[in-house]
């Protein structure tokens, strides 16, 4: 097995675990962690592609690294915003569950 394949398989595994978690985990914090795992899979893939796509004489293609660091910052910001929302929700309602609003929100009375 070449190092390329190893990276590709690792990325696949991370993305798969992330997708599973996003679909199946009920708690929003677990969903958020699943999003981060899936994001890490994408980052691993991007990093590996940078190495593979390097032109002769260069250790790696520099563009993906620049994009990668931006994507990591974006994912970090997303995580921070979501955690802040979750904390606020726990403060207001004592639970971070999403499920209460799931059945027919139009029935709620104001």
């Amino acid at each position: 097995m070449t190092i390329d394949n190893l990276f590709a398989l690792a990325a696949c595994a991370l993305i798969g675990i992330g997708i599973y978690g996003l679909i199946a985990q009920p708690h929003p914090l677990r969903k958020l962690i699943a999003f981060n795992i899936m994001g890490s899979g994408v980052f691993v893939l991007f990093g590996a592609l940078a190495k593979r796509g390097a032109s002769a004489g260069l250790a790696a293609d520099p563009v993906p690294q620049a994009l990668l660091i931006t994507a990591i910052v974006v994912a970090f910001a997303a995580t921070a915003v979501t955690v802040a929302l979750m904390l606020r929700l726990i403060e207001v309602s004592d639970s971070a569950s999403l499920s209460e609003s799931a059945p027919s929100p139009d029935r709620r009375d104001r």
């Binding site: 993305i15 992330g18 997708i19 996003l22 679909i23 199946a24 009920p26 929003p28 969903k31 958020l32 999003f35 899936m38 994001g39 994408v42 893939l45 991007f46 592609l49 593979r52 796509g53 293609d61 563009v63 993906p64 994009l67 931006t70 994507a71 974006v74 910001a77 997303a78 915003v81 979501t82 929302l85 979750m86 606020r88 929700l89 207001v92 309602s93 971070a96 999403l98 209460e100 609003s101 799931a102 059945p103 027919s104 929100p105 139009d106 709620r108 104001r110």
Partner: protein, 579 residues
């Protein structure tokens, strides 16, 4: 041709300015804080509007897309900003709508001299500017990664708008929106990474010239499209839309419904028409429009079954999103996706929906503020108490229905033309039938609001005159957009609205809408005995679709459908003509 795309044109720096302006305003506002933030925000808006006019002027002069190369670093290493006709039109529309929403929101979110600053008066203006800046970036970005960042900015600014009220219910809606949007964006990013791996660039013109319909491009297109649809809330991925748009304050719902969803929709347009026209196939476009048609049917019927006005408007947004996707299969010529009349119609539809829907949400919010509730069944007397507001609601409804000379009318005409040319008669039926549904909820609300109340209304709170006029101004501008489009050379499509033919169509649509409203509304219209076998029969499809909607909006179903949709797109892009 290619070299042209990488050189800055005259007026290109205006594109950088229109992206920077809202963010600069935001930073100044943040720095000055308090009462100044609101003044800075309101001051930024006319400047932005002026800038977009300048851009439109330069674009009309040059008769070619404007371009700006940041720091003179040429793509693929650098980043270029570009504005074609669609982008210029969207820039002007967004600036106009943002100005109107800013004036509307004065009554609710301007800091009061006697009261101390609150969190919502502070954040609202920051978020409004942030959304504006992010949207401008979406319209002018020239590469798929900058578009990703712009889209994330848009989501981060949109989500807090949902929960300005800070109640558990709105926080839950915001959290749902955020998590689903994140799922969508990570799929988009995965697609972009695969594309970079396959083709070594994310610059749109460069990609369009090299991309081939191989499996990398297909999978990337499917992942990116599915991710964007999740953010646009196209049926069946609308899990987050009704609670988020229905629960936010009116000034925020107007932004979310009119503008934010247009960002990701515009990106689908860029992706399909500009970046990968060689990869998309007619079957995939048919699926996209098919989802749009289902959105129209399900969204409209569930809207008719709502008890609260704001949720009705939120579901109507879900239906109107469907319209935006109808143009994709109609833009095919000879098995190739081409920018032509159908794309113009799509952009026109987006513009007229943005103006009309912003007006409609404003009117709904004013009704809530004035009457103290927004239960549709109890709106009797609202038309007398709030005449300008109800007029705005009626006009925006007519504009969405596509009455002459609204933008929706012109767009419908162009699409009907395209459907006839390409022999896709089934889209003719959808285009004609959709208006009946829109008429349905218009009749439902107006029928209730025009009734004489059983007891004279008391305790109607006065609402801001300026806000009412802004709602009306947006609705009227949507109704008159077709005139603005005459310059595009479609003047022959605009007929006299009181010509017997056209009048008959309008009346037939309204009548059909009245029948739908009577049959499907949860409360009897006109008021009277409720339980009859006929009525139960008429209610049945509504009940079934409402259950379907509830099932689709469960988290597990929605996420599974998202993955399924991506897989189906991969399959459908294989069905095209061999490369």
């Amino acid at each position: 041709m290619m070299a042209d795309a990488w050189t800055a044109t005259a007026g290109g720096s205006l594109l950088a300015a229109i992206v920077l302006l809202p963010f600069v305003g935001m930073l100044f506002g943040l720095l000055l804080g308090g009462r100044w933030l609101y003044r800075v925000a309101l001051g930024t808006m006319p400047m932005g509007l002026f800038l977009t006019f300048a851009i439109a002027d330069r674009w009309a002069d040059a008769k070619a897309p404007l371009a700006y190369v940041l720091g003179n670093w040429v793509p693929p290493l650098g980043i270029a900003l570009r504005a074609d006709g669609a982008a210029v039109a969207m820039l002007v529309m967004v600036a106009g709508v943002v100005c109107a929403i800013g004036l509307f929101a004065r009554a609710d979110f301007a800091p009061k001299p006697e009261a101390s600053e609150t969190r919502s008066t502070f954040t609202y203006w920051l978020l409004l500017l942030a959304i504006w800046g992010a949207l401008n970036l979406v319209f002018v970005s020239g590469d798929l990664f900058t578009l990703y960042v712009a889209l994330e900015l848009l989501t981060f600014a949109g989500v807090p708008l949902v929960c300005l009220a800070g109640t558990a219910e709105t926080l839950r809606a915001a959290l749902r929106y955020m998590l689903f949007a994140l799922f969508g964006s990570v799929l988009y990013l995965l697609g972009a990474v695969l594309l970079y791996g396959g083709y070594g660039t994310l610059d749109i013109p460069l990609l369009a010239s090299t991309v081939r319909p191989d499996s990398i491009a297909r999978i990337a297109l499917a992942l990116m499209t599915a991710g964007l649809l999740a953010k646009t809330a196209l049926f069946p991925l609308h899990v987050w839309l009704p609670p988020a748009h229905g629960g936010a304050p009116a000034a925020a719902s107007a932004v979310l419904s009119a503008l934010v969803i247009k960002g990701s929709w515009f990106l689908v347009l860029r992706l399909w028409f500009d970046a990968m026209p060689a990869v998309v196939t007619l079957p995939a476009a048919q699926l996209l429009a098919g989802l749009g048609a289902s959105a129209i049917v399900v969204g409209s019927i569930v809207a008719l079954r709502q008890e609260r006005l704001k949720l009705l408007v939120a579901y109507s947004t879900m239906a109107q999103i469907g319209y935006l996707f109808l143009m994709f299969p109609l833009a095919f010529e000879g098995g190739q996706l081409v920018q032509g009349p159908a794309t113009h119609a799509g952009v026109l539809q987006a513009i007229s929906h943005a103006t009309a829907k912003a007006g409609m949400f404003m009117a709904a919010g004013l009704v809530y503020a004035g009457m103290g509730h927004d239960r549709i069944a109890d709106l009797a007397g609202a038309a007398r108490a709030l005449p300008i507001t109800m007029l705005a609601f009626a006009v925006s409804g007519l504009a969405l229905m596509g009455v002459i000379p609204s933008g929706a009318y012109l767009s419908k005409k162009i699409l009907l033309d395209a459907a006839e040319h390409s022999g896709q008669w089934w889209w003719t039926a959808v285009l004609q039938g959709g208006a009946v549904f829109t008429a349905g909820y218009l009749v439902l609300v107006l029928g209730s609001a025009l009734r004489r109340p059983a007891t004279p209304l008391s305790g109607v709170k006065p609402v801001s005159k300026l806000s009412q006029w802004m709602a009306l101004a947006l609705s009227v501008s949507s109704l008159l957009i077709a005139f603005a489009a005459i310059g595009m050379g479609n003047a022959e499509l605009i007929k006299n609205p009181i010509e017997p033919d056209e009048l008959a169509t309008t009346l037939a649509v309204l009548l059909g809408g009245a029948v739908l409203a009577m049959g499907l509304a949860r409360f009897p219209l006109p008021p009277g005995p409720t339980e009859s076998p006929l009525r139960r029969l008429a209610m049945a499809p509504g009940v079934v679709l409402e259950r379907l909607d509830n099932w689709v909006r469960r988290w597990t179903s929605a996420t599974l459908l998202l993955i399924l949709l991506a897989a189906v797109f991969v399959g459908l892009t294989r069905l095209g003509p061999a490369a």
